[in-house]
Amino acid sequence: MTLRGSRWFWGLLAGITGAYLAFILAMLAATAVYSAPSDLWKALQSREIQHSIWLSLCTCTVTALLSLFIAIPSGYVLSRATFPGKSWVQAALDIPIVLPPMVMGLALLILFQTWFGRLLEKAVALTYTVNGVVLAQLVIGAAFAIRTMHGTFDHLSARPEEVAMTLGCSRARAAWLVTLPAARRGIFAAGTVAWARSMGEFGPILVFAGATRMKTEVLPTTVWLELSVGNLEAAVAVSLLMVVFAMIILVAVRRVGERV
């Protein structure tokens, strides 16, 4: 009776998981066989698309590094410190995760119409530039990275850090020598999440940095531009390329994450 009940239970769970997985694979397979390989190859030979690939890889990498620069200290503060209004701060830091990306782009654009934005713009040109692509990716990518780092520090006991302090370390040195090395998997995961999220970002980039060919065009923008002119083969080719990038990232997270 127990074994039979158990079989039904596992069967039901496996069925739900299998159905979802089959749907995802069916989507990818349909996309993969939609165009002939020669059409895909031809699309990838286009100078515009090659520029878009290169720009996507560069901006996503810069965004991932900048996201870590923000996420490591923010995650540490949220995990270790107690202060009034902490839950409000946590909720505010999650805003970029829950708001529609397009709204984030619009908010960015409006910010850069204010005196503060204009002041920033005098130091670094951002609106409708490559810097703007990075900023649009960063506002959302960093929020995901902060959430990952917060979880990482929550799972690491504060006790070793406190012992290091009794042995002569300042709080900062204890965090640097004891906690950060222990958080390396989380740091890798946070960087990867920010990179992958940035690779798929479209709305805020379109609104804030534009979709100018050979200038601010990244892979999701390419898909949109190619679709808008009816070049379905090119849109499919770029989509497949993004699937490959996603697979590489997922495998890297599993492989490297287990080793670091």
């Binding site: 006991s157 006790r159 070793p160 406190e162 012992v163 290091a164 302090m165 009794t166 042995l167 002569g168 370390c169 300042s170 040195r173 020598l177 004891v178 090395p181 222990a182 390396r184």
Partner: protein
């Protein structure tokens, strides 16, 4: 001597109010009390990891209330050992000397002699996750002793060990404390452990520390 003088501290609904007691110099005091009575909090206050709202703390003739944890001269062994997970046993024990910038040869000598004394010479190149419970507690003790503390503070260091290991490590603790004449404050739930180790048994009850046994205390 360790002296708590009217120490008060609170967190949420929990409060310790005007706790006073002393541990004579060179003696081994065991602090007992129910779970949640605030024993660990008292140790953390002594180590400088929690800030009391009032009162003063003394080690010998020096008031340490406002000193940073690293300036207090306390060797702290928490309940789970809290070893540094990415460092080897050798690096864990040599940590305090490395922080102070002491020569590598001196650190090596200290690590070697402590490892021999604690019986962990064979595991010096292992990481904490590859150690048994008893080995972990010995490494935590070695790391605390390597900082040459004036005072040793132990938070249930033997609670996770089986009876045989517990007795062996308790004997080692007592021998080391006697040899180094270290003033020691040890928190435990086990009466047998207290009887085996303590010169003084203290009990934390309703926010006050009362002396259960041992010679009269000064201060």
């Amino acid at each position: 001597m360790i002296r708590f003088d009217k120490i008060s501290w609170s967190a949420g609904s929990f409060a310790l109010e005007e706790v006073s007691f002393a541990v004579p110099a060179g003696s081994y005091a065991v602090l007992m009390g129910r779970s949640g009575s605030g024993k660990t909090s008292l140790l953390e206050i002594l180590c400088g990891l929690r800030t009391p709202s009032s009162g003063s703390l003394w080690i010998g003739d020096n008031e340490i209330t406002s000193l940073s944890p690293g300036e207090r001269g306390i060797g702290y062994v928490p309940q789970d050992g809290a070893l540094f997970p990415t460092m080897t046993v050798r690096e864990n024990i040599g940590f305090a000397q490395r922080i102070r910038g002491e020569p590598a040869a001196a650190t090596k000598a200290t690590v070697g002699s402590l490892a021999e004394r604690l019986g962990i010479g064979a595991v010096l190149d292992r990481r904490p996750q590859n150690l048994s419970g008893g080995e972990r507690q010995r490494v935590a003790l070695g790391r605390a002793l390597a900082s040459r503390p004036q005072v040793l503070v132990l938070d249930e260091p033997l609670s996770a060990l089986d009876e045989e290991l517990r007795e062996g490590l308790a004997r080692l603790l007592k021998d080391i404390q006697r040899d180094l004449k270290l003033t020691t404050l040890h928190v435990t739930h086990h009466r047998q452990e207290a009887a085996q180790l303590a010169d003084h048994v203290l009990r934390l009850e309703n926010g006050a520390v009362v002396r259960e046994s041992g010679p009269p205390q000064n201060g």
